[in-house]
């Protein structure tokens, strides 16, 4: 609107003189919402927990103590023990390793493949675009869990196969977003300028198009971390994920679920861990989206 234009005009003038670095603005917007701050705290805590699990965990998560099975929370076992007498808190702490690793690796693998496909499809266009994108659309037609189930059924369970399954099922999301981004970015004059300079296609794609496509993809990666962690828990719950005795939150919910009426803490504790983690990643993703929004650049 014209009114808004007049305002940005005024503020834009100010921006050129009073110089505020982009990084500072980013942090200010990013940290301005309390939910985002809470999310960041949870994620940082989660990462610390995963790294220092052996130090933080009071017990060996695999050690069975058959004299202490299904103990209620007490001073020795803060969250009680399971049917094999393993300390629930220690298993949740170790489970954070599984969740984070599965989430991170699956998302990075999916992003790498999906972004490459999307970048090529979006940048070259022509006949390449429909070929890649129809394939991707085909993948997208399957629900994520179904696709992961199929892969797990084909390759069997285990952490590696869970990662493959989740990775494959996330590829289309990245490919689509990247393709759309590349289509928009390549219309910018600076891409035309790079061509007129004589830059090669590879250089234009890597130096000019890719970095300018990043912001929404980073947001997506963050949010997908939460989704992947949730999906891993789902697969583990269905028995297709981490093999026992490995500690995984989904498998713990699955185990505890049978004793829901007598020992609800067994299912609730890992459930809350999953919930908090997914919530944290979504909040941080939201915050990133606001902070990276170019329309907000120069304001706040």
């Amino acid at each position: 609107m014209a009114e808004a234009g007049a305002v940005t005009e005024t503020i834009g003038q100010a921006a050129t003189q009073a110089r505020v670095t982009e990084a500072r603005r980013f942090w200010r917007v990013f940290m301005s919402r309390s939910l985002v701050r809470i999310g960041m705290v949870i994620i940082v805590a989660l990462i610390i927990t995963a790294i220092f699990a052996p130090i933080l965990a009071p017990y060996d998560p695999y050690a069975q103590d058959l004299s202490q099975t299904l103990a209620n929370p007490n001073t020795k076992h803060w969250l009680g023990t399971d049917s094999l007498g393993r300390d629930t808190l220690s298993r949740i702490i170790y489970g954070s390793r599984t969740s984070l690793m599965v989430g991170l690796v699956a998302v990075v693998v999916a992003a790498a493949i999906g972004m490459t496909l999307g970048l090529i499809a979006g940048y070259y266009g022509g006949w390449i675009n429909p070929i890649i994108m129809r394939f991707v659309d085909g993948l997208l037609a399957f629900p994520m869990i179904l696709l992961a189930l199929a892969v797990a059924a084909l390759l069997g369970g285990g952490i590696r196969n869970v990662i493959i399954a989740l990775g494959v099922s996330l590829v289309p999301v990245y490919a689509r977003l990247m393709c759309g981004q590349a289509l928009t970015v390549k219309e910018n004059d600076y891409v035309t300028a790079a061509r007129a300079i004589g830059a090669s296609n590879a250089r234009i794609m890597l130096v000019h198009v890719l970095p300018n496509c990043f912001p929404p993809l980073i947001v997506l990666m963050t949010m997908m971390m939460g989704m992947a962690i949730l999906a891993e828990a789902g697969l583990s719950f269905l028995g297709l994920g981490i093999k026992p005795p490995g500690a995984a939150w989904g498998a713990m919910v699955s185990d505890g679920y049978q004793l829901l009426l007598t020992n609800p803490i067994l299912a609730f504790a890992p459930g809350v861990a999953i919930m908090l983690t997914v919530f944290a990643f979504n909040m941080v993703g939201d915050g990133l989206r606001d902070a990276l929004d170019p329309r907000l650049r120069g304001t706040l």
Binding site: M1, A2, E3, V7, T10, Q13, A14, Q17, A18, V20
Partner: protein
Amino acid sequence: MAALLTVKGLQTHFNTDRGIVKAVDGVSYHIDPGETVGVVGESGCGKSVTQLSVLQLIPSPPGKTVGGEVVFEGRNILEYEANGAQMREIRGGKIAMIFQEPMTSLNPVLTIGRQLTEMMELHQGMGKAEARARAIELLGMVGIPDGAKRIDNYPHQFSGGMRQRVMIAMALSCSPKIVIADEPTTALDVTTQAQLLELMQNMMRRLGSSLVMVTHNLGVVARYANRIYVMYAGRIVESGDAKEIFGHPKHPYTIGLLSCVPRLDECGKKERKLVPIQGMPPALINMPKTCAFLPRCAYRTARCEQEVWPELRPVADRHYVRCFDDIGQANVCK
């Protein structure tokens, strides 16, 4: 002759995290009935914000009109509730506005007819059929052929020039006393610009309305305006009759503007080098008390650096300048 609209000491500020931007800082002017007034300045000088403030259209936050009054028909309209009934009656009904970008000023999902008749039904209490007939008549008046058919089209079915014609029709639909046109033709080609400006001038004469033309284009103002206000850094730095301003510009900024733009009727680079105004417009935050144009001024003296920026003072009949010195430069273009 009593002025139709009088603005006194208008101040509009914007809150940003870098400080308060004084976009309009004590602007006073008046509009007489039936005249065309040009408001000239570069982007960021506050010319648009001034007009939006008059109609209380400043988005708040971050903007706020913090001082001054706008007297229209004997009442200070700044006292009205920004979205109250009284202000709405003035907006569109008595003072209409035409914006620069005709695409975003029209709602893309409503037909031209709906948008035209809405105003008339609202402000003049017309019935549906009556408003529609009037809308078709208006489209014809602004040079859109086949109005009866075009009235049911959507904005995207019109070209940029045609959309601006629709905007003019909308602005004129309630026979306003004043039309404020904010860079109405900047986005358009020169021949279309000439068509539309000519149209606006004719319509204004027909309705006897006053036109406020906000633009950075000195040529447009020279061709159509009776009186001119030159704005810089949120203030009026020079005002007067068009012939006087262009013939005997007194403020260094006006002189600078006139000599930095190539003119169609003068020879090329071999004959005259353009004289740019050095530097950039200020950011309007924490401005010093001295003249805002001082850092860029080619005529500055020791006095300018020591004393507070003076108020507008008369230098000739109806010609006011905000400068200490009498910088006598006859037509710079000769």
